[in-house]
């Protein structure tokens, strides 16, 4: 080490730590300035789904949008869906919102311990599910209840899980909303963030190794991208060109932390794709047609053995993180209202009306209809009980089942002990 080297004894200014800060905090007046990365509808090119990743390194820095401010579908990504299919999507989005609203109120009424809404993010799940095949496997986070609704899964079944009641196929073992529906290609939700990501890649690798035609798709929040599982998933997906779609739902917030704490100040989440040499898209997540188009493109890519796609779905978490959260403590009250990409239900509705395929009256009627559907489902579900303090809806014995396929001696003994002790204690 030369002593003449630069640095020693230099009079240089001190370092400082950069700690990100969101644009607005409680009390601030929100006014989102023009954000050039949000691009105009129709402005982004659509490469062939088999294009090499290095021919589309621009895409992560822009935004795939189909619906323009008036509600017209424009540009190369327009999926040209029939009005019937668009109406079906709208209905499912409305049904999802109604379901959330009702279950949220059930929790507030003390009927269960916990609930999480996906308000404002309905397009992300519904439109993606519409663009996938029924046999494709979904590895969701807790905010993709829309996938089940898109696949016409029983609301009663979902509610029974939320209530941990006698009808709960998961035997009351899981926190509300941690659904598992193999029949609907919906993987068991984990409470540990991002673990589903490498699992989706593994499922896709298995499908590829077996010469199957089914692909996998996974979802995680933008905050969750910081977990190591995200990196494992992308690395394995890239190395083995796994037929998988990896969605990052950037709803701007992770509980109280804005997306800057996951790296969103420095670049987009779609740009993560570049580091792994895989295709990356950044999509208007409140534009159901854009979500559909991007998912369709990525599915075709995966199914054609052209490898994985990372899609950032740019959206906004319009409500609290969960029933345990009060966002007014950390973000400005009207951020959701001011979010530049609007509301996905309103936007799809406007599109259909513009096409002459929908009107306010039909919309109001449909809102009423899905509300009734949810209310009826709730009545059915509640017949099987709701969760409350000390009153068990499940047979105790089930607690010891399914730890292993066959119950080992220690669990059998523990079950017997529990029964004996409760008996001895007269309960």
């Amino acid at each position: 080490m030369s002593t003449t080297q630069a640095g020693e004894g230099r009079n240089i200014p001190p370092l400082s730590l950069h700690v990100p800060e969101p644009r607005y905090r409680p009390g601030d007046i929100v006014s989102f300035a023009e954000d050039p990365t949000l691009a105009e509808a129709g402005a982004v090119r659509r490469p062939a789904p088999d294009a090499a990743p290095d021919t589309m390194r621009d895409l992560p820095y822009t935004l795939v949008r189909v619906l323009d401010p008036e509600g017209r579908a424009v540009g190369p990504w327009d999926p040209r869906l029939s009005p019937d299919r668009v109406r079906a999507m709208l209905r499912k989005m409305m049904l999802t919102r109604a379901y959330d609203e009702r279950m949220y109120r059930a929790q507030r009424a003390g009927k269960t311990s916990f609930y999480m809404k996906c308000t404002g993010e309905e397009a992300v799940s519904i439109a993606a599910a519409e663009a996938l095949d029924r046999g494709d496997m979904c590895f969701p986070s807790y905010r993709q209840q829309g996938l089940l609704i898109a696949r016409d899964w029983s609301l009663v079944d979902m509610m029974c899980q939320v209530y941990s009641n006698r009808g709960d196929r998961l035997k009351g073992r899981q926190l509300p909303i941690m659904y598992s529906v193999k029949e609907a290609g919906f993987f068991s939700i984990s409470g540990n963030l991002t673990t589903q990501y490498p699992q989706a890649v593994g499922w896709a690798m298995a499908s590829a190794a077996k010469g199957d035609t089914r692909i996998a798709a996974a979802w995680c929040g933008e905050g969750s991208t910081a977990e190591g599982d995200f990196h494992s998933a992308l690395t394995f997906a890239s190395v083995y060109r796994a037929p998988v779609i990896l969605n990052v739902v950037n709803n701007q917030w992770a509980i109280s932390s804005f997306q800057g704490f996951a790296g969103g100040e420095a670049t987009t989440f779609a740009a993560r794709a570049l580091g792994y040499g895989v295709a990356g898209l950044r999509v208007d997540g409140n534009d159901a047609l854009a979500v559909y188009a991007a998912t369709e493109w990525a599915a075709e890519r995966a199914r054609g053995n052209h490898g994985p796609t990372l899609i950032e779905m740019f959206t906004y978490r319009a409500e609290g993180h969960s029933t345990s959260d009060d966002p007014s403590a950390y973000r400005a009250a009207d951020e959701a209202k001011c979010f530049p990409l609007g509301d996905p239900v309103e936007r799809l509705k406007a599109h259909l009306i513009l096409l002459g395929e929908w009107d306010e009256a039909r919309h109001a009627a449909q809102a009423e209809e899905v509300a009734v559907q949810v209310r009826d489902a709730q009545r059915e579900a509640e017949k099987l009980g709701v969760l409350s303090g000390g009153d068990f809806k499940q047979d105790f014995q089930t607690m010891f089942e399914d730890v292993f396929e066959e119950m080992p001696w220690n669990l059998a003994e523990q079950r017997d002990q529990m029964n004996a002790e409760r008996k001895a204690a007269g309960i």
Partner: protein, 337 residues
């Protein structure tokens, strides 16, 4: 003196430690601006600035990893892991790095980190908001593991942990953040203000690591417990009028063997209570230690009342939780033997 609940006491401990030592910093998911999902770090960013109290990416691996590097620099990091259930992605940095840094560098580098994390069940949190993984840490050479059971201890132990020159895992029994829950989930919980240990000095003091507290003297049986279970045990003992000696371990590594040994040699009987899964839980180590050291004084086999060997089930929580019924039945067996 002030009246504090557990959260307030823990918050006060960090406040005091940060006041006294500019090298103490706190960080973690939602820890900065918002002050933590359980509000344990509320107000610290405002008071000490963003350089000393800040939010982090959702990466437990990164949180512990950067803490090790900060400690090597000379800071005293106090990271929070939002729930103990989420500590596994950070485990390698804890067990392979923080725990062994002093040893492998023969003292050149050290890792005086205090990892705080809410743990334990009883809040209808399901499998991933209820776990008690203390046994995993107890098995790792080079880590200390501390579990307070009341506000006074929580503050004193946390300050001691932060001032300790070795890595400490500080598990906070979240069920008793707001009151000393005795396991009777069907009765209203008393607030801390009615409990003497809610009297907490506002300034600096420490409760030494590695020292248990005999929270109740007795002759008939020794009960070893920590965290929430101390209150469950005390409730049963009081209700049933048993002359038990209740030892609140407070630190499980290094465990206060002298206190344990003296008590069991006196009573001749021993019950161990913890919430974690039974097989391989810390109760096994306690049972082994007691038998190894007090064998000829024992009048009945050491018993364990613990969580069952299953994941933590959401709706069957109160059947899983080692509550008053199970503790009571075990005490009957032990005293009758």
């Amino acid at each position: 003196m002030a009246v504090m609940n557990m959260i307030q006491a823990i918050n006060s401990a960090m406040d005091v430690a940060m006041e006294r030592d500019p090298d103490v910093i706190v960080f973690g998911e939602d820890v900065g601006y918002f002050g933590g999902v359980f509000r344990a770090t509320a107000g610290l960013q405002k008071k000490f600035g963003k350089n000393r109290a800040f939010d982090t990416p959702i990466s437990e691996n990164g949180i512990v990893g950067v803490a090790v590097g900060m400690a090597a620099y000379g800071l005293r990091p106090v990271p929070e892991i939002q729930f103990a259930d989420y500590i596994y992605p950070g485990l390698d940095q804890l067990v392979s790095e923080a725990a062994r840094l002093r040893y492998r560098s023969a003292g050149e580098f050290t890792a005086p980190i205090t990892v705080r994390s809410p743990f334990g069940g009883g809040i209808f949190g399901g499998q991933t908001h209820s776990q008690s993984p203390e046994a995993i840490f107890a098995h790792v050479a080079g880590l200390k593991t501390v579990i307070p059971s009341n506000p006074y201890d929580a503050k004193g132990l946390l300050i001691a942990a932060i001032e300790d020159n070795d890595p400490v895992i500080f598990f906070e029994p979240k069920r008793i953040y707001n009151g000393p829950f005795d396991g009777h989930y069907d009765r209203p919980v008393q607030p801390w203000s009615r409990h003497p240990a809610s009297e907490v000095p506002e300034g600096h003091y420490t409760v030494p690591l590695g020292k248990a507290a005999v929270v109740r003297g007795g002759e008939a049986v020794t009960i070893l417990a920590y965290g929430t279970m101390v209150h469950v045990v005390m409730g049963v003992v009081a209700e049933q009028g048993i002359d038990a000696e209740v030892v609140d371990l407070r630190t499980i590594v290094p465990v206060d063997i002298a206190t344990i040994e003296a008590s069991v040699k006196k009573t001749g009987r021993c019950l161990i209570v913890h919430e974690a899964t039974r097989t391989g839980g810390f109760g096994a180590e306690l049972s082994a230690l007691v038998t190894e050291r007090c064998f000829h004084h024992l009048e009945s086999p050491v018993e364990r009342v613990t969580g069952w060997d299953t994941p933590y089930p959401h709706s069957l929580e109160w059947a899983y939780f080692p509550g008053p019924v199970r503790v009571g039945e075990a005490l009957k067996r032990i005293l009758e033997d």
